[in-house]
Each structure stands twice: as structure tokens, then as C-alpha cells.
């Protein structure tokens, strides 16, 4: 009995420590309450950053379950990244994100779609088929911020409903997606803020190695750009924080820009 109590106490202790640790990190990286749209947020522009809204896998998603895993880093990451896109490229982009889903057909008006925490998504068959149709017409999906074996399996379970005939392959270093604007030969794992202070560990779960993977179409063009075991979203969101290392933020910006320009040229 005493052993059992000791185990429960230890569990509470660990959980409490984790909670305290995370609360501490949250204090260091406080969520912005300012969701006021930018002044030019409704400007009509050539490029619109579209964030995919989806249903959560088995109601999971941890602290984001209530809002939905798709909202992670939203909207600060999107808006802060778009500022960088404006500054670093000639792309005319709207400063504010746009939410799309796979229920309506609105997604077809936004050929570039970003999906975060796809290790928690759950796409019904019809939505997975619509996602396939979206890429078949010429759309591009960028996925981000999911880690380890379990989330990979969740991700591919839904993806394969629409892309079962398409293998997922690693993207080679010489692929245009790593050179279309910035040369990204020397890439590192971009950590989420949970890895603060980023000194000993940049991975989550068993996602030790960052993986840049892709689903390609018949012509060999990347139509789904999969960023596994990394977190560009956090890097964009906290690029303005002195606590988030610049080298990760810079790479995340360059990666995001390369993915967008690749999607607009291939």
C-alpha cells in the first residue's frame, strides 16, 4: 500500500513539476492577447496565407483541445511570419491569415495552405479526398509542428485516405524547394518553446531527427511539404523574443518563404 501511495505521490510530483515547468515557460513566452486584425488585414493581395482548420484526433490535443490543435501559434505566428515575407521578398501578401477548412470549397481559392499540429488531425474520408483534389488542381499543403512516431502515425493515417497511392519521401538537399530563394543546405532542427532553453534538447517525444519530407505529384513536384520533428510555427511566433534563438527563427523564416515561393513556381 505504501508503495502504491509512494508511486501516486511520485506521479503527482512529476506532473506537478511538468505543470510548473510549462507554466514557467508560458510565463517566459506569454500568449499574446492582441488578436486585433492589422490595419491592412483585409487588403486584397496576390498571396493569402491560409491556415487549415480540422478536427482533432480522438479529442486529443492537450491544452489546445478546446480551441483545436489547428489553432496552435495562431494568429501571432502567421502575422509575424507574413511581416517577414513582405520584408524579404517581392511577394504581395496580405498581412493577416485566412482560415480554410475541407468542408466548404473555399480552400480552392487559396492554393497555399498551412496546417499545424497535424499529428493531432483527424480527416474524414471525404475531407482527405478533398485535400487530394486540392493538390491535384495545383494546391500546396505545408504541414508543421508534429513530432515523434505516434504523431507521425496519426498524421499519415488521415493523409493516406487521400494520398495512399503517393509515397512519402525525404526531400534531397538539392531539391529546388531548398534553393528557390534561400539556400538551405545546412538545416537544423527548429525547436518549439517547450525545449527552452534549447541548450540540450531541441526535439519532442522521440522525434530526434528533423525530417523534411514530401508527397509529390506525377511530375515529381512537391504538393505536400511535410516538416516533421520541428516547429516553424513557434519560431515565427517567438522570433521577436530575446529568449528564442535567432538562428532557429531565421531558418524558419527562410524555410517558410522557400515553401511559399516553391508553391508559386512549381
Amino acid at each position: 500500500m505504501s508503495k502504491r501511495v509512494a508511486r501516486i505521490a511520485l506521479l503527482f510530483l512529476l506532473a506537478g513539476s511538468l505543470w510548473a515547468f510549462q507554466r514557467g515557460i508560458r510565463n517566459l513566452f506569454p500568449d499574446s492577447d492582441d488578436e486585433t486584425p492589422p490595419a491592412d488585414g483585409n487588403e486584397k493581395a496576390e498571396f493569402m496565407w491560409a491556415r487549415l482548420r480540422y478536427s482533432n484526433f480522438q479529442g486529443g490535443g492537450g491544452m489546445w483541445a478546446r480551441r483545436g490543435a489547428w489553432t496552435v501559434d495562431y494568429p501571432k505566428a502567421d502575422r509575424q511570419f507574413l511581416q517577414g515575407v513582405r520584408r524579404l521578398t517581392r511577394l504581395q501578401t496580405r498581412s493577416m491569415e485566412h482560415i480554410v477548412d475541407l468542408i466548404s470549397d473555399d480552400i480552392f481559392d487559396y492554393p497555399f495552405v498551412y496546417a499545424v499540429e497535424v499529428g493531432h488531425w483527424s480527416l474524414p474520408d471525404a475531407q482527405a479526398r478533398k485535400l487530394r483534389e486540392f493538390t491535384d488542381r495545383g494546391g500546396f499543403l505545408m504541414t508543421d509542428d508534429f513530432h515523434g512516431t505516434f504523431e507521425w502515425d496519426v498524421f499519415t493515417t488521415s493523409l493516406n485516405k487521400g494520398f495512399g497511392d503517393r509515397p512519402i519521401t525525404d526531400i534531397e538537399n538539392d531539391d529546388p524547394i531548398f534553393h528557390v530563394v534561400f539556400d538551405l543546405n545546412d538545416r537544423v532542427q527548429v525547436p518549439g518553446i517547450v525545449n527552452y532553453p534549447f541548450t540540450t534538447q531541441t526535439y519532442e517525444y522521440d522525434g530526434f531527427e528533423p525530417k523534411w519530407r514530401a508527397v509529390r505529384d506525377d511530375k515529381g513536384r512537391i504538393v505536400v511539404g511535410i516538416c516533421h520533428n520541428m516547429d516553424q510555427g513557434d519560431a515565427w511566433e517567438w522570433a521577436d523574443s530575446p529568449r528564442y534563438p535567432e538562428k532557429y527563427a531565421s531558418q524558419a523564416y527562410r524555410t517558410g518563404i522557400n515553401y511559399i515561393i516553391y508553391a508559386m513556381t512549381h
Binding site: 486584397k44 493581395a45 496576390e46 498571396f47 524579404l88 521578398t89 517581392r90 511577394l91 504581395q92 480552392f108 481559392d109 492554393p111 483534389e133 491535384d136 488542381r137 495545383g138 494546391g139 528557390v180 530563394v181 511530375k219 511559399i260 515561393i261 508553391a263 508559386m264 513556381t265 512549381h266
Partner: protein, 742 residues
Amino acid sequence: MFEFLFNYPLTVYRKGTLVLASGWPPWLLGALVLAAGALVAWLFLRKPLPRQRALALGGLQWAAIALLLLMLWQPAVSVSQLKPQQNVVAVVVDTSRSMALEERIGKATGLLDSGLLEQLKKRFPVRLYGAARDLSRLESLPAQATQAVTNLGASLQGATGEAATLPIGAIVLLSDGADNAGGLDSSTMAALRRSRIPIHTIGFGRERMDRDLEITDAQIPVRSLPDARLSATVTLRQSGYAGKPVRLTVQDGGKTLATREIRLPDDGQSSREVISFQSGPAGAKAVRVSLAVLDGETNDKNNAVTRLVNVEDRKPRILYFEGEPRWEMKFIRRAAELDANLELVSIVRTTQNKFYRQGVTDPKELEHGFPDSIEELFRYQGIIIGNVEAGYFNPQQQSLLKEFADRRGGGVLFLGGRATLSDGGWNHSPAADMLPVLLADRKGTFHREPAAVELTVAGRDSLVTRVEESPDKNMAKWKSLPMIADYQETGAAKPGALVLAEFHPTSGGRFPLLATQNFGRGRVAVFATGGSWRWQMGQDSKDMSHEVFWQQLLRWLVSDVSGRVAAVTTRQVYEDEPRIVIQAGVRDMNYLPSADATVEAHILGPGGVAGVVPLRPVTGVPGAYTGEWLAEAPGAYLTEIVAKQGETELGRDVLNFRREDGVAENFRTEQNRELLERIAQQTGGRYYKPEDAGRLPQEIEYSDAGISVKETHGIWNTPAAFLLFAGMKAAEWLLRRKWGAV
């Protein structure tokens, strides 16, 4: 009746000139007529008569006096008349194959045999000739018409040429007028006129067939890219089958390329049908366009024609310059990538200091951005200017862009965008001259608003906008396309430009979406949007309308772009005509006309026929060269034209032509009365129907050709003159009685 009233046949009056045989001065006649008029007026106006009655009675009396005075001066007709038995009459019988139709040759020989020839022989020595490719002497009337060619011009010139050794007084031509060797051009007609020998024509054959279907023409581009969509514009006419359906088919060596059912026009009417087909792989194609043979057709050999298409083994390169990343570029690239016969090289300014190049063949290509030299720019066949301001290009590049179309003969396409056309300052660029639309002199012409698109009448017929085979389905398809994402206002189309499609913004108005025009040697188009990618993203992935449209627009841009040597033959198919004329335009390394080139045509024909023809410069036309060759054997010929400047080869061009014998005779087989009448009228002869030809022997006498004498025939004593005088006096008497003015 005419001869009874006027003493002589009508021909005497037609051919003769009016003279006064009394020898008295004509001025005296005029003076007396005027004096008589004055006297009559003085007498009648003094009488107590209403003015109108006085004028009517006085006028009749004055006319009678004038007629009497005219008769005193002894009017006569002076006419040249052939001396009997001293002039030869050439009787020319058309012996070409079309005369075998409807037993025309039998009717012609029958007419001659039934007395006409005898009548002529009574007055003149007669020589018989046959008319086909040229004139031939006949000893007897021809029994059959078997010759493959009718060249009436050459035959008649041969007949008039006999006048050098014979006193030819007149020519009688018995023909259906179905000339198939190019017709009688103005110089041939002038030569016939100069001979002053009247040509009398007798026409045979129906002027319109009862039941016949004929392809009168088929226009097909002579050059094409591989697997291009081509259109055949087929002109046909029919009689006896109004409103009936018939199948129109395009074939290449027995393989059907396209077929569809058409409905025939009204009797005697021509109609035009357009059928499109794929050109297929590279090579010389003999494309056969045919109409199904209908029951009871008089002539079933005129239902098909053959045309040549040279499907060139080349892959034109198009340079697409984009000022900033745009979705339009991605989707245009994707459409072009599906076309194995186009190469799209693109360059986009991704950042302020970076370009991203795609489709380049070596790392050096376009490494400095948009080319600023002829060598670099003119190696492309087409250019697309995306969303980029005019000011980005230096003055030399802007001039080169214009020269690219004007001098190089390339195709230039301007897309709409927030920084182009008027909003990009192109309205103040020298390149504005080349645009098919006027540009507004203001900014703010680009709108990110949805707009519906619709084809214009010109767009309905254009292959550029043909995404569905049937024109009606195509119109409907365009109407059903998703709205474009943005549009740019332009001014109206320039004179000579074609607007193929328009857009209707949801906010109202109507503006050109796709406008095209030729500019110099090249062509230019404006596609005033950067948002046609919605046609791809807004439709099922299996829908190919976006891809097909862009492939066709890009192909249109570069399909007719030639190199430094561009050669043509005067005709694609030489029917019964062995003389081949080759013309070539030659440009130097800077695409300026080259006047000092050495140009040769190397010809390969059927059965190993080969020849080399040097082409000579055409006087007064820099860069133009021409040469002739005789292609005797029927069949397909391949010609390669090579131009050199010194030891440097400027370029080469390949063309095809075809020789056919005996095919043309099956076409236009109705009697060409208009031609026969024109020959007669121009030479002073007459056209006769066979049933009227009995008058010919008498009327033929009046001619000033050959050995003739001038005869003067008095006409003062004609019954017509007496009746006219009596009639005027009787009318005067009746009026006097009626009005009590005796």
C-alpha cells in the same frame, strides 16, 4: 424583226460607226436644226394655246423637221467586213475532261455537225483546234474529251498567235469555260484584246448542277508545330441537297483526324465550315478533307481536296519574365509543361536582388535577368511580360521588345497585373505601339475583383480560345468558367486588332480580356488579368480547359515565327501546272533584310527527282529572293532552302508542295458563263447559247481582223426612220384634233 426595221443585223450597228454620207458639213445640219427649232417656237408661242400644248405640238413638229434634215444628210453605218473566203475562222473545241460531263463534247460536235460548220465553211476557210493545256490542231471533230487540263488562256493565245501566218478573222470557242490552270489573268486578257481578233464563245453545260456537292476550297495552315490543334476552313457549295446532313472528314494517310456532321446550305449557296484536328507528330502531311458522297451526285470526284501541312520538328522557346511571384506563373508553367512541343523559360524577381530561373538550358542563360542584346533575346520565339513595370526595362530593352515582334517576327504576350500595362507605365513606353489595345493614361486600372468572362464573335471562331470542339459547347464552356480573380481595364482595341474574349466585372462594365494583333512580322497579345489560375483551381482536376487554353495561346504566340530564312511556294498544290515558283525572305544575323546572301533551294521529288535552284534577289525588295523550277512528275516534293552570307550560314527553311495532274478538272464543272462572256466582250465577240449559235455565221462577218473591207450601209431609208416620221406627224394630228388646235 430588227433587220426588217433597220435593214441590217444588229451586229452591223454594234460593230459599225455612224457616218453622214451626203458630204455636207455636219455643222450646217446642227445650225438648221437649231434654226428650225427657233422658228417653230416663235410660231407656236404666238398662238392662243396653253403653254404646255404649244410646247407639245411645237416639239413634235420640230422633231419631225429635225428627222427630215438628218435624213437629207444621209446617215450611214460604216463597218469592217471580212472578205469572203479570204479569212480563216479558227474553231476551237475544248477537249478537257470536264467536257465529257453531261455529254458536253457530244453536244458541241453535234452543233458543229448539224450545219454550223457548213455555214461557216461557206463563208470562210475553217481550221479546227482543240483546247486543253494548250492549243492543238485537229483534223476532224474530237470524239472524246480526255485531256486533264483546261488552260483557256494559253489555248486562246495560241489561236491568236496563228494570226502571224494566217489571216485569222475570228475565233469560235466551244467550251464550258471550266478553266483550271489559274484562270485568265489580266495580262492574258490584255494580250487577247491586243490581237484585235474577236472571240465568239458558245457555252456548254448547265450553269448549275442539279445534284452535286463540291468542296471549292480548304484553307489549312501550311506549317504547324507537332500535336498542334489546327483548323481547316472548308468552303463548299451544293445543289439539290439543301438542308441535308453530310459528314465532313479530315484524314491523314487513311487515318481519320477529325469528323463531324454538317448541314448543307441552300441550293446554289456556298457555306463555310471549320473543323479542327491535331497535327500529330512532325513530318510532311497530306491532309485530305472530304465530304461523304451523296446518292445521285452528278460528279462525285469533287468531294475531296488534299492540302499539305509541314509539321515542323521544332520546339519553340518562350521567355516569361515575371516581376514578382504570382500564382498565374505557376499555372501557366504547369500548362506549358504538359505540351511536349513548347519550352517555357521563366524568370521571376523573388526578392529585390534575386531572380529565380526555370527551364534554362545552361547556368549562364538569363543569369543577368532580362536580355539586353539581340543575340540573347532573339533566340527565343515568344516573350511573356508578366507583372512588371515598364521602368524596370532600360530603353534598349524596351526597343528590343518592340523589335522582337516587328523585326524578329516573334510573339509577345502582355499579362495584366498591379504593376503592368497602364499601372506599370507601359502607356508611355515605345512598346505601347505594339499593343493591340489602347492604354488608359492613368493608374488604378488593376482591380482584385472577380469578373466573368465571355467569348466575342471573333473568339468563337478562334482556335486560341477553342477549349471544346463544338463552337456552341465552347461558348457555353467559357460562360461556365469560374470567375477570374482579378482584371485590368484597358482602352478599346486598336484598328486591326481582334478582341477574342471580354470580361464582365461584378461591379459592371465590359473590357477586353484577350486581344491580339499582328505587329510588323510578329504578333502581340494582351491578356488583361493575372487571375486565370482560378480556372484551374476552381474546376475539377480532370477539367483541362485551363491547360488547353494556355497551350493554344502559347502556340499561337510562336507558331508562325520563322527563322532567318522563310520560304514559300506560290501555291501549295500545283494542279496541272509544272512551273514552280519559290520565294524566300532572308534576314541577316541581326534579322535585317539580307541583300547579299547566296540562296539555294534543294528539291527532292517523287521517284528520286532532285534539283538545285539558285534563288535570285528580287529587284527593289531587299532580302527577297525568287526562283523557278519545273516539276513534271506528279507527287509530293520536299524543298530545303539554304541561305549563306559568305561562308556563314544564315539559316534554312523546309517547305513542301505537291503536283497533281487531272484532279482539278473534276472541280468547278458547271459552265463558267461569266468567263466565256468576259472573253467575248473583251475581244469584240459575242457569247452564244448553243440554240442561238445559228446566227453566228452571219454575225461573224463583221470584224476588222484579218482581211477586211470597210462597207458603208445607208440607213436614211430604213423603215424605222419612215415609221418614226409618220408616227410623229400622226401624233401631232391627233393632238391638234383633240385640243381643237387645227
